[in-house]
């Protein structure tokens, strides 16, 4: 006796087999029609007189008679005479005349390429019996050739089997999964997987997308199965389930969100951090925020294939930034102005859709930019409505990063990754110090900081350029972070100019890239320590110091200043100029200051050489030169006079200090 459940199973199996048989039949029939051999023949071909022959014979004909009555040419005789006199007579006219004069000569057996082919086959391949129709047809078979579909018939038959099994599995999930809680999820996945006929897929990509979408949607339908402590994940699943229902692209939109690069980062980093950082009660706020972002983006994604991929890759980064903002500015953003965080993220979605090269931003870069934007808006909500130049503040802010990464002209020196690392660092500093960008005029500070340096060093080799640019941007950012008022000074320009001078020296092989980077750091510090002097001076003091020391080092036959000693000397002279040089240097031009400093450094080196090995060693040279430059800056002497009592006293004191240092 067969039990009802067994009978149901038997019916289900039979139904599956019958369905399989029909669909397999249809698929194999298609293969037969599409890939079946086709006999192709060549038509018979005219083999009578050629046009040249016709011309010759008609000329002979015309030369042999005078067109008496009975001439088949009639009135066209004279016209034909004229035509045949041409270099290339009209073939159609000549042919028609020929047919009238020599119709019998056109009755010639045509060329029959296929008949000749069969004759030749019979002669050369006598082992084949070409009287057999199938064998003869085989001699004319033209195979179907390449199929333009990625999935061949063998693969599609495999898919058909998978499809039928999925349908069977969906109908009989109880047999496959014992756990009643999971059964619904598995059934849902299998039903979705088998819903279109899988063998209809002709390429892997849509098939894989379908499989992913089916799995994830099935899980979403049964997201209650997720463990209860995954509150944040549940919130995200709820949001995604809503987005799927509300998006015009439905499952397609959802599959894109899951496939993007940002999703694993959101789940792996963002939600984990949220569970550590935020209270459980804030999960609902996150749900609302995420839901708003996806809802806002959905029509944009639907209208633009380019933005579709971008958003798939980056929605997770925006939400991560949102979670970070909730953690850091929650009370301010959510209690005081609950819409603010949402508005920043929606504004970013809108603006990123408008910026053509936004896809150049990496996940980490966009996350940090988002974080910085939220931080700035939290500090000054009015920014969202502010303008920077003629564009919204947020667009200008985002664009300053995108355009920096997209600098095509300097790709030879910087990889995209290198540029990204630099702008990511900038975004990180802005996030930690939003006061740097809360003035709408500073929206493009990222471009100012990085762009100027990149322009200055782009002629160097890749390694030197990266080393120097990293030192310059890092130095500038540290200075800005310590003293935000520097943003309003010439600081960035001065550092960029200094970078350019260093780049020239590296290119001329006067300095190594590493030495240049060390000098860059020293100059950044010196300028940051004395912003007013450097900002107000007519010259670029740092550049003048660098040029002076390098020039003096070049004219020094003993080459006291090279490598680390040269770097240390520039550092000491910069410090001396910054601390003590106001009177001498404030109104000097860069050229005159360079000349004056060169003389002082030259003279100092002469004195230092005389003392080397007695009261001074090489490590004391930078300090000694710096001390003499400081004295010169204070006005203690105009030129070094070794015989002067005052100089001797000063020099002796400096040597004693150098020896004890």
């Amino acid at each position: 006796m067969i039990s009802p459940s067994t009978a149901a199973l038997a019916i289900s199996v039979a139904r599956g087999i019958i369905k399989f048989g029909h669909r397999l039949d249809a698929l194999v029939a298609e293969r037969e029609a599409v890939q079946g051999a086709l006999v192709l023949l060549m038509p018979e071909i005219y083999n009578g007189p050629t046009a040249l022959q016709k011309v010759r014979e008609l000329k002979e004909y015309l030369a042999g008679g005078d067109g008496a009555s009975g001439d088949p040419l009639g009135d066209t005789r004279s016209e034909l005479l004229l035509e045949l006199a041409k270099e290339a007579p009209d073939g159609s006219f000549v042919g028609n005349c020929y047919r009238r004069v020599f119709p019998e000569r056109l009755i010639v057996a045509p060329l029959r390429p296929d008949a000749e082919y069969v004759t030749e086959l019979r002669r050369r391949l006598p082992q084949f019996d070409l009287s057999d129709p199938d064998l003869l047809a085989a001699a004319f078979h033209i195979s179907a050739g390449k199929d333009d579909r990625e999935l061949g018939y063998a693969a599609r038959i495999g898919l058909l089997v998978a499809d039928v099994l999925s349908e069977f599995g969906a109908e009989n999930t109880a047999l496959l999964v014992r756990d009643p809680a999971l059964r619904g999820a598995v059934q849902s996945i299998l039903e979705r997987f088998a819903s279109p006929d899988l063998e209809e897929f002709s390429a892997w990509s849509p098939l894989l997308r379908h499989a992913l979408s089916a799995s994830l949607n099935g899980m979403l339908d049964h997201r209650g199965l997720l463990t209860a402590d995954s509150r944040w994940l549940l919130a995200l699943m709820d949001v995604l389930a809503t987005a799927r229902g509300e998006s015009p692209d439905g499952d397609e939109f959802l599959a894109g969100l899951f496939q993007g690069r940002g999703y694993p980062l959101l789940v792996g980093k963002g939600l984990q951090r949220a569970s550590e950082l935020l209270g459980e009660d804030q999960a609902n706020s996150f749900k609302q925020l995420a839901s708003d972002v996806l809802k806002h983006a959905s029509p944009l994604v639907s209208n633009s294939p380019t933005f579709k991929q971008f958003f798939a890759d980056h929605w997770g980064d925006l939400l991560r930034a949102g979670l970070e903002g909730m953690g850091r500015y929650g009370p301010l953003l959510l209690d005081g102005q609950p819409e603010l965080l949402r508005d920043v993220l929606l504004g970013m979605v809108t603006e990123l859709n408008e910026i053509p090269d936004a896809n150049l931003l990496s996940n980490e870069t966009l996350f940090r930019i988002g974080d910085a934007a939220i931080a700035a808006v939290a500090a000054k909500p009015g920014l969202l409505a502010a303008k920077a130049g003629n564009q919204p503040w947020l667009r200008a802010f985002l664009n300053s990063f995108v355009s920096t990464v997209a600098r095509d002209g300097i790709q030879a020196s910087f990889s995209r990754q290198g540029l990204e690392e630099m702008v990511t660092e900038v975004a990180g500093v802005f996030g930690a110090h939003p006061e740097l960008i809360i003035e709408s005029d500073n929206a493009e500070l990222a471009r100012t900081v990085v762009g100027g340096v990149l322009n200055a060093v782009h002629t160097l080799s890749s390694l030197d350029a990266r080393t120097l640019a990293a030192a310059a941007t890092s130095g500038m950012l540290q200075a800005f972070a310590q003293n935000p008022s520097l943003v309003k000074t010439r600081y960035a320009t001065l550092i960029a100019d200094f970078s350019a001078s260093l780049a020239e020296l590296v290119k001329a092989q006067t300095l190594t890239g590493l030495n240049a980077a060390a000098l860059m750091t020293a100059a950044s510090e010196a300028v940051a320590q004395n912003p007013e002097l450097f900002d107000r001076a007519r010259s670029n003091i740092a550049t003048a110091v660098l040029n002076a020391v390098v020039r003096a080092a070049g004219s020094d036959e003993k080459t006291l200043l090279s490598g680390a000693v040269l770097v240390a000397t520039v550092h000491e002279v910069l410090r001396a100029a910054a601390r003590s040089g106001r009177a001498r240097i404030e109104n000097s031009t860069t050229e005159s200051l360079t000349d004056a400093l060169t003389k002082v450094v030259d003279d100092s080196l002469v004195q230092a050489r005389a003392e080397l090995g007695t009261r001074l060693d090489l490590s004391g040279v930078p300090w000694l030169v710096g001390g003499l430059v400081a004295a010169w800056g204070r006005g203690e002497f105009a030129r070094i006079n070794p015989e002067s009592a005052a100089f001797k006293k000063l020099f002796g004191r400096l040597l004693e200090t150098a020896a004890s240092a």
Binding site: V13, A14, G21, G36, I45, L52, Y98, P113, A144, S202
Partner: protein, 277 residues
């Protein structure tokens, strides 16, 4: 995925398992009807294509496959199986060629026009669809003793179109060879229709130069050696067909070159020697 059919858990009785092959056999018997119909269409249409040509009047004793019966069979099948564009498009191309080879040019044109290239998937069928204008013109006019102005324009378009296809079809040599040979014949016909020796020479050289691009080193070597023995082939290969069929093209080119004193010299040495010997 494994489907358990174990009786120990009461999923399925042994007798049910015994029934499954029977069910499967029944479904398989009833389920391959479409494939059989299509297989018959392919076999009979190929036979009908040859019927009346190359000295084989009746390809299938007892059930002569004529172009009329076979084109009707295709129509009936497509009408009975709607919603299968890949099958329908491939069969329509076959039907159009069947019409063409039996001089039914208007029917061939109408049939070609029913096919969307996007429903075709193989190099052969797509190339035939793309070349439908050329095929229609050449099959209808290949035996004309004189070309009208329209024929002259059509021949130029055909030569251009077929050259493009020849370049496209590198990975499908059989259809490439078929269209390349067709181009060679059209090129020779163009030379035969030229009324100045210079134009005739150029047309002849162009025909053989482009045709020669489909030949490999072995093909040229076989032609140059003029060997009377072909490889001991167990079946007709594309290489054997290319080498044998080239001889007829080259013989026709040699006849034209010598009769009209054209002094044509195609780039391939083997071709050059052949038509000037």
């Amino acid at each position: 995925m494994k489907i358990p059919f174990r009786t120990s858990r009461g999923f399925c009785s042994f007798s049910t398992i015994l029934m499954l092959p029977l069910i499967a056999a029944l479904s398989a018997t009833s389920g391959c009807a479409t494939r059989k119909q299509v297989a018959d269409i392919v076999a009979h249409s190929n036979a009908a294509m040859l019927g009346g040509h190359v000295g084989l009047p009746d390809p299938r004793a007892g059930a002569p496959a004529t172009w009329q019966t076979e084109t009707a069979r295709i129509d009936n099948f497509i009408a009975a199986h709607p919603g299968q564009p890949a099958i329908a498009a491939a069969l329509r191309v076959r039907q159009a060629l069947l019409f063409l080879s039996h001089g039914q040019f208007s029917l061939a044109k109408g049939t070609f026009n029913e096919v969307a290239e996007s429903d075709l998937h193989t190099d052969r069928d797509k190339a035939l669809k793309r070349c439908q204008q050329t095929l229609l013109w050449w099959f209808a006019n290949s035996t004309n003793d004189t070309w009208s102005v329209r024929d002259q324009a059509a021949s130029r378009e055909a030569l251009d179109a077929l050259r493009l296809e020849q370049e496209r079809l590198a990975s499908s040599p059989e259809i490439r060879d078929y269209l390349a040979e067709m181009r060679a014949w059209i090129g020779l016909a163009t030379a035969r229709q030229a009324t100045s020796p210079e134009l005739a020479r150029r047309a002849l050289e162009d025909a053989l130069n482009v045709y020669g691009e489909t030949f490999g080193v072995d093909d040229f070597a076989a032609l140059a050696a003029g060997t009377e023995t072909l490889p001991a082939a167990a079946s007709f290969s594309a290489d054997i067909r290319r080498q044998i069929r080239a001889r007829e093209v080259l013989n026709a080119a040699r006849a034209l070159n010598s009769r009209e004193n054209l002094s044509a010299h195609p780039r391939a040495d083997a071709f050059d020697q052949w038509i000037n010997r």
